[in-house]
């Protein structure tokens, strides 16, 4: 029973972070048809911003807020400087550009900060754990769960209620018709990057708080996972990105918890085997749109 509870807490907290990252990727994919590999570096950047804020002695909440905003602003700068000039180039060029941006940022972090991880002194308030029955839930995990759920709800409201939200959902289908509805492509793309960056910022802060440190390659693994999530969920599907995030976390943590010790080194490969199995059954992803609907 406690093992199950621990499992669920782990899945919901990791899954929430994956969902935020995957949504960030999906939003940009929707407007630009690009999987932004530099998304992880936005996370890392937010992590360094959090560290800087703490070292400068600003209140922790202000450091968190600043870190999230840094993610958003950096994403918009990334779009205007790196992606806008190649916007109408072919998808491979866009993809290469995103790799280049990711590499560039990693090198900058390594050379101007440090190749090694930096400890992030999270206030002790956040480092304890609470007991639920016999299971221990760390406060940071609880915060992760709450923050990711609140962010997802806020996004749902944005996508369901606002004109920009509808447009981002529609962009994957038909950008040209959006222009007939009076949307400027540049503005919509900038909004998508802003949202994507804010999500990366939130995920970055949660990630750093859990690990207690930040390093130049920190964003790599979670964004690879988010990339997998976006593919499982169905490229361009926003609800797919969320459900996919929780699904991947469920698989990953199940393997982590119950896989025999001897098989531990194969954990990641097993995750990918399961992912491939899912994709061979559902080539458009679990929640990918039915192509026949195109009018």
């Amino acid at each position: 029973m406690d093992a199950i509870l621990t499992y669920i807490v782990n899945v919901v907290s990791l899954g929430g972070t994956y969902a935020l990252l995957a949504l960030g990727l999906a939003v940009v994919f929707s407007v630009l048809g690009l999987i932004n590999f530099a998304h992880g570096e936005l996370m890392t950047l937010a992590g360094y911003a959090l560290l800087a804020g703490i070292l400068l002695g600003v209140p922790f909440w202000a450091a968190v807020l600043a870190a999230v905003l840094v993610g958003g602003v950096a994403a918009v700068i990334m779009e205007t400087t790196a992606f806008r000039p190649v916007r109408n180039a072919n998808p491979a060029t866009l993809l290469m550009t995103s790799f280049a941006v990711a590499m560039l940022l990693q090198v900058i972090f390594q050379n101007f900060i440090s190749a090694r991880g930096q400890a992030v002194p999270v206030p002790s308030l956040f480092t304890g754990s609470i007991a639920i029955g016999n299971a221990q839930v760390s406060i940071i995990q609880a915060i992760s769960i709450v923050v990711s759920l609140l962010s997802l709800i806020a996004l749902k409201v944005f996508f369901d209620r606002s004109r920009s939200g509808w447009a981002i959902r529609a962009a994957a289908d038909d950008f040209e018709t959006l222009r007939l509805m009076g949307f400027r492509a540049s503005r919509l793309i900038a909004i998508a990057f802003l949202i994507s960056g804010l999500l990366a910022g939130i995920a970055g802060v949660l990630w750093v708080m859990q690990r207690g440190s930040v390093d130049p390659l920190m964003g790599l693994k979670p964004v690879l996972a988010a990339f997998v999530v976006v593919v499982i969920g169905g490229l361009g599907s926003i609800s797919g990105a969320v459900l996919g995030g929780y699904l991947l976390a469920a698989i990953e943590i199940a393997l982590q918890t119950w896989l025999p010790e001897g098989l531990a080194p194969y954990r990641d490969s097993l995750t990918f085997v399961l992912v491939i199995a899912v994709l061979s059954l559902f080539p458009n992803g679990l929640f990918g749109k039915r192509v026949a609907e195109k009018v």
């Binding site: 529609a170 289908d173 018709t177 959006l178 749109k289 009018v295």
Partner: protein
Amino acid sequence: MSTLLDVTGLSVNYGGVQAVHDSSIRVEEGEAVALLGPNGAGKSSTLRAILGLIKSTGQVNFRSTSISGVACERIVSQGLTLVPEGRRLFPQLTIHENLMLAARHRKAIQSTYEALLARLPILAERRDQPAGTLSGGEQQQVAIARALMSQPDLLLIDEPSLGLAPTLVDRVYELLADLKADGLSMLIVEQEVIRVLNFADRAYAMANGTIVMSGSAAELRNSDDVKHFYLGAEE
């Protein structure tokens, strides 16, 4: 009567394919004008070029102001819009979302929106259903309604009857007749030649990217060439 749309010497070239060549089209205020032509004649390219969706050469004036080279979204805000070929509703968005997406100023649009709801009950009845679940005829009505949400003075419509059963085509043309009575000007691309010539005031016929004939709708209806090329070939 003043000239709303004045297109002169319009040409569209798709990297080697000359889709439209030196075509001139005019729409006066309050007029419904038909643009006829067989498949591949260049009708859609003409409309898309006017709206700035594709590159073109030549001169396009709207209300005596040049809109050549102006971005599509700016043109739309000046009161000219297009109901694209194949309707192009956003299938995953609800009907309400499809309409409101086109409303740049939600408050200012309220009366237009309510008038549309009264005119097309389906908008209210199925407001929260994905547009992809509508039938073709319903989609065409919603697509026209959506275009009206930008409060245009001139509506370009690309093949409103495409793929619709005759009774549904009637429904669509009833809607267009209402809109015309309200003073909306339109340029309609259509392959249902008789239908559109009965509706329109004037017409142009296009073939191989050039305008080959123009005149009043009655003139084209009685022209032997139109009879031969379109009416004969239709069956």
